[in-house]
Amino acid sequence: MTRLSRAICTMLVSATALAAVLPASAQSVPNAPTGPVETQYYANGSYATTTTRSAAACDSKGNQCDVFYPSNIASLNVRLPLVVWANGTGSTPDNYTNWLKHLASWGFVVVATRDQQTGYGNTVLDSLAYMRAEEASPSSPFYHRIDFAHVGAAGHSQGASGAANAMFHSSGAITTTVTFELPNQNWCNPADNCLLTPTLTGGSGSIFYVSGTADSLIAPDTQSGGTQLNSQTAYYNATPGTMLKAKGLLKGANHNDITGTPGCGVLGFLKACANGVYGYMGFPTAWLAWQLKGDAVAGAAFKNGTGEFFTANAWTGRVSNIP
């Protein structure tokens, strides 16, 4: 019995060690990266990360904020770009820790309100204001460590609306947004708790619409008609041509795969997670690295029709206006 236990233990340790050593891209994961840019940003960045929670409320609704950032932020000689995150309906940052830590490992400071109704974007802007106060406080780990000239937003589901609304109502403070599973306007509930057409058509900045082909009920690629924006293509087409914009759908990804850790686990069906977060780590991170950190190679991946994004195996429904 002892020998058997030792053998099982040895097997488990070996398997764990192997999984840790092998790059995840070498394993069989859904939506694995194929090209160099996607592969680069699919992997975690070089920074170890730390997560803190605000001691008090950070937004006007009384929610605290979680902040994900490089652990050695105090010793860095550069200010880091900031990403403000918006949760989906009824969710908190706890549902997205894999994705948020992944961003932090690439040198982003990520602030996420724990608000569960972020569609209006107001609490997302509150979290930005909170980080401004932190950045000005000598007792804060973020004192003089954040580059407010490079602030982006990202969000999931209702939070995708919240991230976009935050950008469009930020008076230029937020310059880019990545939306994950931006719901059709017929899912707006209440009606203005979403990205409204006039807000979008009058907006500025840049935006990357990301959805999954298995999310056809909430965030489909196309629609049959009507005046509402009920598809990713409709949102993309309504986005002003003066904005840099891109759109793509992960093959087989459903509404909640962004919550993967990174996979969905054996109980993934309970939270409607099928493929996990794998496919979301490459190009969305590359977009933010291009827009907020100036990685031109990452930006070239989105070049209309010819960039790496357009040949990646995991993606479909791709379009961009990146020259």
Binding site: S157, Q158, N186
Partner: protein, 141 residues
């Protein structure tokens, strides 16, 4: 002799006790002013008595957990639901009609409870596609 007095005393006490309990102490009795019948001047036939219709508020129906969740998601205290049907093979999905303070017309909705998402009928084929999820056996998103 003494025995006779005792018997009489007992009877007196018993009568007093009986009278005490039998007397209608608390029932007020109106003075009898005589019967006065007031009739209308013309002898119209007396209509059959009609029960008075009081504006009685309907008894509040207990809300199901799914209705409570849907209403909570709408953040509208005046929102109403009707004809809510929960899919038997996927109880996280419910369909019915709703109206709100800002949109006071009952419109069809689809509720995905596991995602806490509510779609409203906008008259398009796209909503019809969404509403298909209300049918049993359809894939659950």
């Amino acid at each position: 002799m003494v025995r006779t007095y005792c018997i009489v005393a007992i009877l007196v006490v018993a009568a007093a006790v009986a009278g005490f309990f039998a007397w209608p102490r608390s029932a007020p009795v109106a003075a009898d002013a005589g019967a006065v019948v007031v009739r209308p001047a013309d002898a119209a036939p007396t209509p059959a008595p009609v029960p008075m219709v009081e504006p009685v508020a309907p008894a509040p129906q207990p809300r199901s957990a799914v209705e409570t969740a849907i209403l909570a998601s709408m953040e509208d205290p005046r929102a109403e639901l009707r004809d809510v049907v929960v899919r038997r093979d996927a109880p996280q999905i419910a369909c019915g009609e709703k109206r709100t303070a800002r949109d006071p017309v009952f419109r069809r909705f689809v509720w995905l409870g596991h995602l806490k998402m509510l779609a409203t009928d906008d008259g398009t084929k796209d909503f019809a596609n969404i509403a298909a999820v209300c049918r049993e056996g359809q894939p659950v998103p």
